[in-house]
Amino acid sequence: MASPADLAASDRVTFAPGVALARQREALASLAAVLRADAAGVDEEERFPRVALDQVRASGLMGLLVPVEHGGLGGSFSDLALGARVLGSGCLSTALIWSMHCQQVAVVARHGSRRLCEELLPEVAAGAVYIASVTSEKGKGGHLTSAVAPLQWSGDAVVFDRDAPVVTGGREADGYLMTMRRDAGAQDADVVLVYAARDVVEAQAGSAWSTMGVRGTQSGGLRLAGRVPAHQVIDPPGGFARVAGTTMIPAGHVAWAGSWLGAAHGALCEVVAKLRDPVARKRMREVDELGAERIARVRIAIDTVESFLRCYASDYDRTLAEQGLDSAVLRSSAFNIRTNNLKVVASELAFSAVDQLLQFAGLGGGYRRDDALPVERAFRDLRSAAIMYANDRLLVASGKLALFDGAAEPFVARLDEQLRRPA
């Protein structure tokens, strides 16, 4: 298995800034191959994919959503979706770790103070800083837009003591972006974000992470205490609701959906390759009519997620380009419902695809643990998709919002309508 030291400098994968990832597919594929090489080991040993992440750091991809002016790749959500998909086809744990990092980066880049951006984003782009998301908290059950632990303001610094039961990659992160209650007198819904580098934080590991799948994400509990300068608080106009609605949730859903799609797509490609390989297929089930139908349904699931994701990302990028973060479109029920639906659809269909693939491949080709045909691992990994973050909550929200979105149209219809109006 390759380690970063083994790869000669000329073999290292790098990405060009300001160029769509769709035009850098070879680099993406090379990176995915590195992830794939260690995916079985990461799963088996329940360890953080440090080797893979080091390669992602070295490639510049940690800075996908860092603007070019701060040394990043200046990517869009379409780039985010593609990057997540290709990485997901190599190792879903690594893809999800990278996805959540990108989500934090997007929040900092768009909503952080100028000073925070100038200090932090170049480091992120250089691969030196992996940011973990700290939003979970005891007693609030995963609800994003509320917080319990308050910030204490002390001169031009803030002090925090934050206990989070689930922090993806928490023990490996270089920095943390945490949701906090504004201060001790504030309501639960009055949330701000604060960034803290690991070296100024006192971290205590909480519950261990031992799960059915995505074992490499090492999302165990973490308690973080420390003090940082006040400019590291992210509290823009419009508050956290605007940060969450326009940036944090869409970025998260796009990147997760891409990652899950990649894992399912990767599993399908491996099975089809085995069915086409003249030697390997003697051990696989024959593709009779029932077999063909099963494969067709796997393709339906994957094609559906791919289309939905690509359409969402493209519509979002367009909305942002045309109207910016304050676009009324990004506050509409139509947008919120579509954002929720993306996550629900991708989580359900990606898992369903691999479940059906496993059914097709049977005991020998799917249920058995096999490094060469990791359908079984993809199944265990993707079962997490509907749970992290709970689909149930999203569905209830979407259903209620839908009552007040009688037109039930794609959110870009709203954008087009606004663009048609005379200025």
Binding site: R276, D277, P278, V287
Partner: protein
């Protein structure tokens, strides 16, 4: 396998997928395979049967009208694959 044997086995396999042709003797090598009843689903099964029989692998791009224009065209591709395998 000699070129003659390849051709003979090829014709045997092919005829299994041509409902209009009952034996190899009847097969016209330059006739349209579609005209002889080869549709796209049978074409997939035919390629897989040829792969199993000859131990070659047709690339995804082989599934085109040109490949299946005539028996001669398909046989030519099969022979090319065999040669590539022998030298590979």
């Amino acid at each position: 396998m000699s070129v003659h044997d390849t051709r003979q086995v090829f014709v045997e396999v092919l005829c299994d997928f041509l409902p209009e042709v009952s034996s190899g003797d009847e097969l016209q090598m330059d006739a349209s395979l579609r005209g002889l009843g080869l549709n796209s689903l049978r074409a997939v099964d035919l390629l897989i049967a040829l792969e199993d029989r000859f131990g070659v692998m047709f690339p995804d791009e082989a599934l085109t009208d040109e490949t299946f224009a005539t028996a001669d065209a398909l046989l030519a591709m099969l022979v090319t694959l065999q040669e590539a395998m022998a030298h590979g």
